[in-house]
Structure formats: structure tokens, C-alpha cells
Amino acid sequence: MLEPEDMKSVGFGACSVSEECQTEATEQKNPFNFRTEVFHMHKDHHIFEDGDIQRHMYLQDLYTYSAEDATTLSVSELACHISGCSGTFSTLEDYEHHYNTLHRHVCCSCRRSLPSARLLDIHIQEWHDPLFTILAQRQDMYQCLVEGCGLKFSTSKHRKEHLIRIHKYPPDFRFDRGKKEKGAQELKRQQPKDDMAMDVVQDVCDSEGTCDLMCNVSCSDQLEPGESMETQVLKDKGDGLPSSASTEDPSTDAQHRTALKPQYSYRVPSTVCFGHGSVRGFRGRRGRRK
């Protein structure tokens, strides 16, 4: 990377979530500071290394113009910018595939990634819509996951049976997990595909059954190809209670990082979401961005 001696570098430091949220949402100062600059390069600057070597090879009679020695310039590497994700890619195609597979259809509330928009909708409805639980007591609300089937069921168990029997879903397809315990249970992180670990806010949903269908929160290492989702990592709060606001101390995040991604201290607050179809959350009926 070029480091011209006059190029300014702005330092950054960790800050807690609430402070960051506040700064960015309310009193946002203009952080942009680009200035046009000329750079004087000293003769010992590393930008001149290759040219100097060429010069001295010439002086020492070693200079050559061999075509075989020609280097190929590489295309700049792409990287997934989602915090906690350390995926790097050499082609746009790979990047798009990665992003579409693992970062689209992300639930705003619990940060889980779902394989499709439809499953995300169902997830949000079943996990995060308070109205759902109420309605489910009176009518069949659990939709069959298979698109076009249209059937609904009174419980997630019924739906699961339907999926196995009618749609030939495998029996060990993550149906049989009960309602998850929150907080106190520290979930072991599974060796993720694509070296990813997605961080999750403590505010985990607590609806039953279905979430296990769609989210890989088990310690099992079996992942259905079509259902590859990220591993969710729950922080052990110690007191066993879920918290609805994301005010956890960022520094305890350290334990969950893989060696691949450097430690950072920024956490995704549950109140801020991506828009435009990539990540959605339940905030009333329309899910409009704040």
C-alpha cells in the first residue's frame, strides 16, 4: 500500500455502541476530509524500490528484457465488509455470490441470515411479530415452507410433520429442537463455511420451533446445502437474561472472534437495519427504515 509521507492518516478508536449510535444518528459531523495533495517522494521511498533494482541490474550487467520475467499485475482483492465476516474474493462473481448467499435476507432483530426473502418473511413473522403468537392461538398460522403449497398449520410441529411426510424433507432437518434457552446457554461456534462468523445481538427471538428450521444454531456439523446459514454466536451474558437493547460491553466480544478477523469493538445495534431487501426487520407492518 502506498504511504506517501505527506498523506494524512486519521486514527480511529473503539467506542461503545450507544455512543456511536448517538453520534451517527443525531449530531453527525462531516467526517470527509479529502484534500488534493502533491506528494514528494524521497529517493529511499519504497515506491521507488522496483525501479531502483532495475537500474542497478542494468549497471551490474544483469539487466534483461526477457518476456518470461514479466510480472502479471493482480486485480485488487474484494472483501466482505460485514463486520465479523472475513471473506475475501478475487472476482466480483464470488463476492456477489457470497453476499447474496450469506448476507442478504438478514433478520434485523436477531441478525440471522435466511436463504430467501420468503423464509425471511416467515421468520420475522413467527419470531418477532408479537401479534403472531396471539393469532396462532386461534388459527392456523404456521405456513408450509415450501413455496406454492399454501397450507398452514396450528403448530410448528404439525408443519414439520407435513414437511417430512408430504414434501419429503429429511427427518433430521433441525425440526426437533425445542424452544431455545436464552442467555445462559453458550452456543458453541461451529466451524463456519467460508470462514464466517456473524455476530448477533443478544436480543434473540424466542419463538419456538421454526427458528431451528431456518437458522443454524446447533452444534451439529450437518448443514443442508440449500440451507447453509451462518453460525450464530450468542454472547454469554452470565446473568442468563436476554437484553433487548444492545448495550453490551463490546470488549467481551473478543472470545468469539476467529483468528482470521482482527478484533473489533463495534456491534450492530438492533435498532439500525439495512434496508432495500437485504436485511429486514419487524417494526410494525411496513418495516420502513427510520
Binding site: V38, I47, M57, S66, D69
Partner: protein, 498 residues
């Protein structure tokens, strides 16, 4: 006489297969890189003897040693075969172990110096050849034995014999890297005025000009050059002499221009204040030559000498641009042809010599940083689309290119609009995904420059699907990136929800 086109032949002369040669080169390159990191990058040049029969049988080491001692003995006796013996001696001294033997012999150097200053012209030349071989040794214990001859070597610089002067110059040049004591002595003995006089009186003799410039370049690379040597050089006629050699299309070959350009590079890169050189026309001359070479660059013919010349010229221009007053910049660099050449260099050497492309990109940044005329030229000459394509490439090139485009966007709104028309937004959608943090942060800055005050451009960015990228970056671990993405989303794109 050095000519670039002969280099290949010389390399082959030393025997060994092509593969061995390649291996040797790679090893040498590796050690040169390490030397540079240690600030110990030095080179010496050996002037090959012309018209020599290289196919003679090489003697074994033992007999050569005997030979040297025997030859010395004969020479001390001032016999009639002085010339023959000296010739044999100079051949023998090509061997490093013979050199060691030689310097250990009593009065060996004294003998050579005596012959160097004697009345026999041919013996002078041969003695000088012996000293030259010694000066080329990488061991300072050997090369420093030549130092007693330095005052004579300097004196002979004003002589008329081409070959002789060349040998003196290269010998002196080889001594320069051998320590502070050497440079002190040479400076005291007046090497700088001697070089200036030599270059001036011999300016039509390009072999001598090349040799003199090489020697100067050696001086300028010494440890204390910035304090002890450069001020004196700048005060002499040397800068203008160096510049006068930068004339296009030399029939002799680019070698003299190459040496002079490297001298100028060491001068401009050692200190930030280059106003003296600027007023002497250095920027004009270097840019002019660059512009002329542009034709050869775009013709794409692979010319070894061309690259060796482009490199120092680019560096001189790049550093001289830093102290050039903005209002004179465009006229000094020669406007359009200069810009075209710069871009041609970047594109031509992108894959074959990426370092050259990178240095040209740096020059482009310096040219566009403060000068609106240059920025407009970039747009009007339609050089921008090709530059935008380069944003994909790594190794620092894309950063400098992006800075250049940022310089253009920074000038006025009209420039931003034109940049967008050429596809900069689409390119940013890719650069915002890059692993290189500097690139991403810079891309955000450029995006800000483009959308700030232009709802049209903002809408276009949204239309191209850019918002998702910003949202992603909002949650990146680097605060610089987060702040910028967040600011853009909240201040410039807030009403563009689809």
C-alpha cells in the same frame, strides 16, 4: 562504451546456460532488494576492454598467482616488455583472488601509479586498466588501494583521449561508494568542478558524458550527499549540463540520457526544495522529453533503454511538480502531450512493469492536485474512461488513480458530472467492495465529492444499487469507513429509499 543493446551479449559472454543466467539474475535481484532495504544499494561498473580476444584459455589459479608476482617483478625492473607485461597483468587482475595477491605485494600500487603518470602513453592506459579492475572489486580492501591515484585521475579528466577519460571516470565512480573518507577526499580534490569541466568540454563525446554522469550519480547516492555534495552540485553548471543531454532521439542510444536523468532524480528526490532546478528549466526539459518518448511508448515497441530512461524522468517530474507554482504548471509540463504520455505509460506498462505504471500514476496525481487546467485536459482529452478501468488493479496503482480522479472531481461540479458520465459511479460500486481499506475509504470520499450538492448524481448512485454497499460498510470494523458511510446515508441518501 556502454550501449544498452550490447548488454544482452555481454551477459551471455560469461558462459553458463540460459537457466543458470536466469537463476543468477534472480539471486542477484534478491540481494539487491535486501541491500536497498539496508540502504546499502551500490553498484560499480566495469568497462570492458574492446577488441579483445575473449576465447583465450583461462589459466588455473595457481599459475595466475605466480604470474602476477612474476609480472610485478618484471615491471619493477623496467624491462623492455613493459607493455606486454602490463597487458597480461590487466587480464590477470580480472580474477578476484589475483587481485588480493596483487595488493599484498609491496609497492604494487605505487608501481601502477608510477606507470599511470609516466611518459609512455600506452602504459598509462594499461596501468589505468589495472586500477580500473581493482576499483571494481566489491571488497573495499581491494578497491581502496586505488585511492592514492585519485588526484591524477581527476587531473586527467580534462584530457582528450576518450578511452582514457572514460576509464578515469568509471574508476572514480567505482570508488565513490567505498566510504565517507573517499568522498571527503574526492570533494577536497575538486571532483565536482572537474566533472563539470569534463562534461562541458566533452559534451559532444557522448561516451564521456555517460561516464561523467555515472560518476556524478555515484556521488549523489552517498550517505552524506544531501548535506555535502548536492548544494555544491546545484551551484555548479552541472544541472544545466545534465539537462542539455536530455535531448530526444539520440543516435548514440539512450545511455547518456539515462545517466543524466538518474542524476537529476537523485537531486530532486533528496530534498524537497527544488526551486533552483525548476528555474533552471528542469521540469520543462524532463516533461518535454517524456512527451517526445510518448510516441515510442504508444508504439509499444519493447525497448530496454526506454524503460530505463522513463523511470528517472517520471520521478524528476513527479518531485518537481511539488514545488512548481500552479499558474505555471500546465505550460511547464507541456499540456496535452504530457498527459497523453503519462496515461500511455500507465497503460502500456501496467502488466509488464507495474512499478513504472505506479510511478506514472503518482505523477498524474501530482499534476492534477492543484492545477485546474490539467484536470480539464484530462477530461477533454478523453483520458478518463481508460483511467477508470484501472481502478480494479492492485499494488497501489488504483489508489493513485482514484486520488487523481478525486482531484478532478474536486475542481467543480461540471467535472463531477463528466466523471459520472464516464462511469465513475459504477467503478465505485466495485471499489467499495475492495479489501484494501485505503481504497474503500478513498472511494467514500470520492462518492461524497460527487453527490454533495448533486441530487442527480445521488439518484444515479441509488439506481446503480450503491446504497446496499453503503449499508454494509456502516457495520465495518474500521471507524473511518463507518463514519463516512453513515454520514452519506443519513445526509445524502435519506430520501432515496426505494
Amino acid at each position: 562504451m556502454w550501449r544498452v543493446k550490447e548488454v544482452g551479449h555481454k551477459a551471455g559472454r560469461h558462459g553458463g546456460t540460459l537457466e543458470q543466467l536466469r537463476l543468477k539474475r534472480r539471486q542477484q535481484e534478491k540481494s539487491l532488494r535486501q541491500a536497498r532495504r539496508d540502504r546499502q544499494l551500490v553498484s560499480k561498473r566495469l568497462l570492458h576492454v574492446e577488441n579483445e580476444d575473449d576465447s583465450e584459455v583461462s589459466m588455473d589459479a595457481a599459475s595466475e598467482v605466480e604470474d602476477v608476482v612474476g609480472l610485478l617483478h618484471k615491471l619493477h625492473q623496467s624491462g623492455p616488455d613493459k607493455e606486454v607485461n602490463l597487458r597480461a597483468m590487466s587480464k590477470a587482475l580480472r580474477d578476484p583472488s589475483t587481485q588480493l595477491t596483487f595488493i599484498k605485494q609491496e609497492n604494487s600500487i605505487h608501481l601502477l601509479v608510477g606507470l599511470l603518470t609516466g611518459s609512455d602513453a600506452r602504459c598509462r592506459l594499461l596501468a589505468l586498466q589495472c586500477l580500473h579492475e581493482l576499483s571494481h572489486s566489491p571488497h573495499t580492501s581491494v578497491s581502496l588501494t586505488c585511492l592514492p591515484a585519485s588526484s591524477y585521475l581527476l587531473t586527467y579528466l580534462s584530457g582528450q583521449s576518450t578511452r582514457f577519460t572514460e576509464l578515469c571516470l568509471y574508476t572514480l565512480g567505482n570508488l565513490c561508494p567505498d566510504g565517507d573518507a573517499v568522498t571527503e577526499k574526492l570533494l577536497a580534490q575538486g571532483i565536482i568542478p572537474a566533472l563539470a569541466n569534463c562534461m562541458e568540454s566533452q559534451r559532444h563525446n557522448l561516451a564521456v558524458v555517460e561516464a561523467a554522469a555515472f560518476t556524478l550519480s555515484q556521488l549523489l547516492q552517498t550517505r552524506t550527499a544531501a548535506q555535502n555534495i548536492i548544494p555544491t552540485v546545484l551551484a555548479s553548471r552541472l544541472p544545466s549540463l545534465l539537462l542539455s543531454v536530455l535531448t530526444p532521439e539520440p543516435e548514440f542510444g539512450p545511455a547518456p540520457a539515462i545517466e543524466c536523468a538518474w542524476c537529476l532524480h537523485y537531486l530532486t528526490s533528496s530534498t524537497k526544495d527544488n526551486r533552483e532546478l525548476l528555474t533552471g528549466g528542469a521540469l520543462q526539459q524532463c516533461s518535454s522529453l517524456l512527451g517526445t518518448l510518448g510516441g515510442a511508448v504508444t508504439a509499444g515497441k519493447r525497448d530496454e533503454g526506454l524503460e530505463l530512461l522513463l523511470c528517472p524522468l517520471l520521478r524528476c517530474v513527479g518531485n518537481l511538480l511539488c514545488c512548481c507554482p500552479v499558474e505555471e504548471l500546465s505550460s511547464q509540463v507541456g499540456g496535452a502531450s504530457f498527459m497523453v504520455t503519462l496515461c500511455a505509460i500507465i497503460h502500456t506498462y501496467l502488466h509488464t512493469r507495474p512499478s513504472l505504471a505506479r510511478e506514472a500514476a503518482w505523477v498524474l496525481n501530482n499534476a492534477t492536485a492543484h492545477c485546474s487546467q490539467i484536470c480539464s485536459a484530462l477530461l477533454s482529452l478523453n483520458l478518463v474512461p481508460a483511467l477508470i478501468n484501472l481502478l480494479l488493479f492492485s499494488e497501489g496503482i488504483n489508489v493513485m488513480i482514484l486520488r487523481t480522479l478525486a482531484n478532478v472531481a474536486h475542481k467543480n461540479k461540471e467535472s463531477s458530472v463528466q466523471l459520472v458520465e464516464h462511469g465513475l459511479l459504477a467503478a465505485l460500486c466495485t471499489t467499495l467492495k475492495m479489501a484494501d481499506q485505503e481504497m474503500v475509504t478513498l472511494s467514500l470520499e470520492v462518492l461524497f465529492l460527487l453527490v454533495d450538492g448533486s441530487s442527480k448524481i445521488a439518484k444515479e448512485f441509488v439506481r446503480q444499487g450503491g446504497l446496499a454497499l453503503l449499508e454494509v460498510i456502516q457495520f465495518n470494523s474500521e471507524r473511518e469507513m463507518r463514519e463516512r458511510a453513515s454520514y452519506l446515508l443519513h445526509q445524502h441518501f435519506v430520501s432515496y429509499d426505494q
